[in-house]
Symmetry: C2
């Protein structure tokens, strides 16, 4: 086990703050369903007896952050007084404790507020662990023992995961070196927020082309005409040799998504992201099937609730691009299981675990065409701290699991990085390897002073000036 | 619209209380994953300017109720100051407002804490509406206009729903009369909580046989041997002519569920309830397929997050028994859509909406065998107030939608009814028709005085005596 010396690692404090940025003022982050997000987070600091600290966050969009903050406070009972080394020694057991408490699981389970809260705590623990080990998180992760395989053993077992990782040990050092020298490809979502004017969109296209970007994502879903015009402008600006993706943020019903995308097909998007409800596995599979003749894949995942939902998207062929989110599902522990399932189903896509029983291989019969597809993990990022976190995960995947960058890239949005002590660095449209110990999610002290809601200095000022209304009763609770 | 006179219907107050009952002391409600539930609820009272009141609740299991309470307080901004008649005139619009606020939807969407909170408020509004109309809720519901059909139009549209209800108008008066004279069949879960001793199980079997029950449910999933013994004891006691159901409360992985149930098949259970993760549509479909030769159906729904998840369970054949829960998904508005989908897919199961497009009828190919099955709605109940609410829904279904009781029955647990002003009445294993105006969820004043957490008189006493620990920091927040 990693901690021969436990002394001083008892967790004595867990602090949580409601931190919000007034991004709605500029239309940044606006899309078909999220018209005025204030990018925010619930920010956790975990402190041990000997003064070690771990920082973790879960992304939110403004209103409602106070609910996640309270949920984190409710989970403190499972962590205060525990020795961090005991947690890391049985991390999957601890994971189950905080995600499946016998009374609290009713208000999830493993989804929504409860799971966002668990993610913030888990992220702070991974940060703590990496700092203790003096490594960036992406160099820490070989740790199948941290994963709770419950509900996914029909796709992957712990033993299979261990075998897959062992098989990729060869060449790992070279891949790590490659990452340190060359980084990992990124794409930009910065050119096409729905709230931006056409002039802004064109100006941003030119800017990001100059910065070396080759993949550009545009928000769609408000009106077909508007989408054709805006996405068309981007296509014209970036040319035929660059790649366009479109993102509907759940705006459509299933048939509507298919009809709408046929009208955008001439713009040759690589993917349609979140065409419909994030819960509709079968709907996504149907859309993917219908759009296959047009060469358009389906991307989703930023609101996919947990590993069980990801499992089904991967099984059904409803997800050609798997957009894991570093703060929605239950921390790195659960995200690793999604990477492993994506890799397993890629390797193994026509021989899904059969038992010889009458129930075997129904998965294949459920969708014989789609199961033969594999899914590329292209993490969701942006928001607050998501770019900082997912870079670690994707670097780990290349170094330790998939061993390839083919068809994979990480979302990049150039916002809110200035608030972090160790912000992600994107050069020539590539994420550079994080070097400092931890998970890159520590805020600068002045950020907390200014943007803690509602009593940070910037919020006090904006509320006083009437830029934003005063917080309501619920928001004052924490 | 139903309210020609809006005067006085402005909503001026919404109060929410954390109400908990110490049910863990007796092992009531214990199952494979919920070992010590304190059946609880977040209890909403909505008050209009002219003093009309509506009562609504969402069921919880103890710890974490404070989070749902805060979420309800956060939703007050969308309701205080609105005229109730305006809400009822565009109830589907109001539904979308409180379930899909552009900032708050990130912490759901439409699931977990956020959706439980919305449900409590919506339930109070339905109670208010029925009281204003001076009818029990089950006589109020003809109201397709209250449903948000987003994300389900690939199975049912608003126009189709209207047609289905119109077609069932014939005979409705006779069915209402039948319900008023004969009630609706119930089954009991009271004989087989996991925490009960064998002697208690046998004693309860005899008691409920004497009360006229014909259907008995037993908790399983802790160990096969224990399950065979306990469920076997129930089977022996009730005989071969009565019906046994078993409930695993999500204890198993997919393959494990199939293997385990083969070992219980000789006891001839009608259904296995919640064999695995409540999110695993494809897993349930696989289990249903494997258990079909044994004549065992799959039941689930009490933790099914929303109508989109229900839609897929119904499409995939993973749910032979559809266990809607009156407090988990977004109020009656959303529950009606589940009843409508179940009825539509029953009527229409081999001709799911095709468009003539290449995408048409993939649903059938996803699972050709299972789609041909229909699902019977057998509501989940028990907990706190769930029996009181679901009786209204199932009475409505018989009177206005399905027009049949064949293969359908409502769960009944004889606990926590004494706290209600208008408790459900079960006679001869049948729910008697609710007569009073509203949704039957108003608590007696003494219940609130005793069991409001943590300051009710009973809680103060139990905490003082050390029967339960003092509330923690988060629980003191509201």
């Amino acid at each position: 086990m990693p901690f021969p010396n436990k002394t001083g690692l008892k967790i004595t404090h867990l602090d949580v703050k409601d931190v919000r940025f007034p991004t709605s003022l500029g239309g940044h982050g606006s899309d078909a369903l999220h018209t005025d997000p204030n990018y925010s987070c619930a920010y956790v600091t975990t402190v041990t007896e000997n003064g070690k600290r771990g920082f973790g966050l879960t992304f939110t969009c403004g209103r409602g952050t106070e609910i996640v903050v309270l949920a984190i406070r409710a989970l403190k009972r499972f962590i205060i007084g525990k020795n961090a080394s005991d947690i890391f020694a049985d991390f999957s057991g601890f994971w189950r404790t905080i995600t499946n408490d016998s009374q609290m699981r009713w208000i999830g389970p493993e989804k929504g507020v409860a799971h966002l809260a668990a993610a913030a705590i888990l992220n702070s623990l991974w940060d703590l662990w990496a700092r203790i080990e003096n490594k960036p998180v992406w160099k820490l992760l070989e740790l199948v023992s941290t994963i709770d395989f419950r509900y996914i053993t029909d796709v992957i077992t712990k033993d299979e995961a261990i075998c897959m990782l062992k098989a990729k040990r060869a060449g790992k050092e070279e891949r790590v070196q490659f990452l340190e020298e060359n980084g990992y490809p990124a794409y930009t979502t910065q050119v096409g927020w729905m709230g931006y004017s056409d002039a802004t969109v064109e100006e941003l296209c030119r800017k990001y082309l100059d910065l070396g970007f080759t993949h550009f994502k545009v928000k769609v879903g408000r009106s077909v005409e508007d989408d054709v015009r805006r996405a068309g402008a981007v296509r014209k600006c970036i040319g035929e040799d660059k790649v366009l993706m479109v993102d509907a943020n759940q705006a459509w019903d299933v048939e509507e998504a298919i009809d709408w995308m046929r009208q955008l097909a001439h713009l040759k998007p690589l993917w349609i992201e979140e065409p419909t409800s994030p819960d509709d596995v079968l709907g996504h599979a149907k859309i993917a099937e219908a759009l296959k003749p047009y060469g358009i894949g389906v991307a989703t995942g930023e609101m996919c609730a947990n590993r069980v939902m990801f499992k089904q998207f991967l099984q059904s062929g409803g997800m050609q691009f798997c957009q894991i989110d570093s703060a929605r599902i239950g921390g790195i522990n659960e995200i690793l299981s999604v990477y492993l399932m994506a890799e397993k189903l890629k390797e193994d896509n026509l021989t899904l675990k059969g038992t010889g029983s009458p129930s075997a291989d129904i998965t294949m019969r459920l969708n014989p065409v789609a199961v033969s597809k594999s899914s590329k993990v292209c993490p969701h990022a942006g928001g607050v701290g998501l770019c900082e976190m997912v870079q670690h995960l994707q670097f780990w995947d290349y170094a330790s699991l998939s061993g390839t960058m083919e068809g994979r890239l990480v979302e990049y949005v150039d916002q809110q990085h200035e608030h972090f002590y160790d912000p992600c660095v994107v050069v020539n449209a590539r994420y550079m390897a994080p070097k400092l110990p931890g998970y890159s999610t520590e805020f600068l002290p002045e950020t907390l002073e200014k943007f803690t809601y509602p009593n940070g200095s910037e919020w006090k000022k904006m509320i006083k000036e009437g830029v934003f209304p005063a917080p309501d009763e619920a928001e004052l609770v924490n």
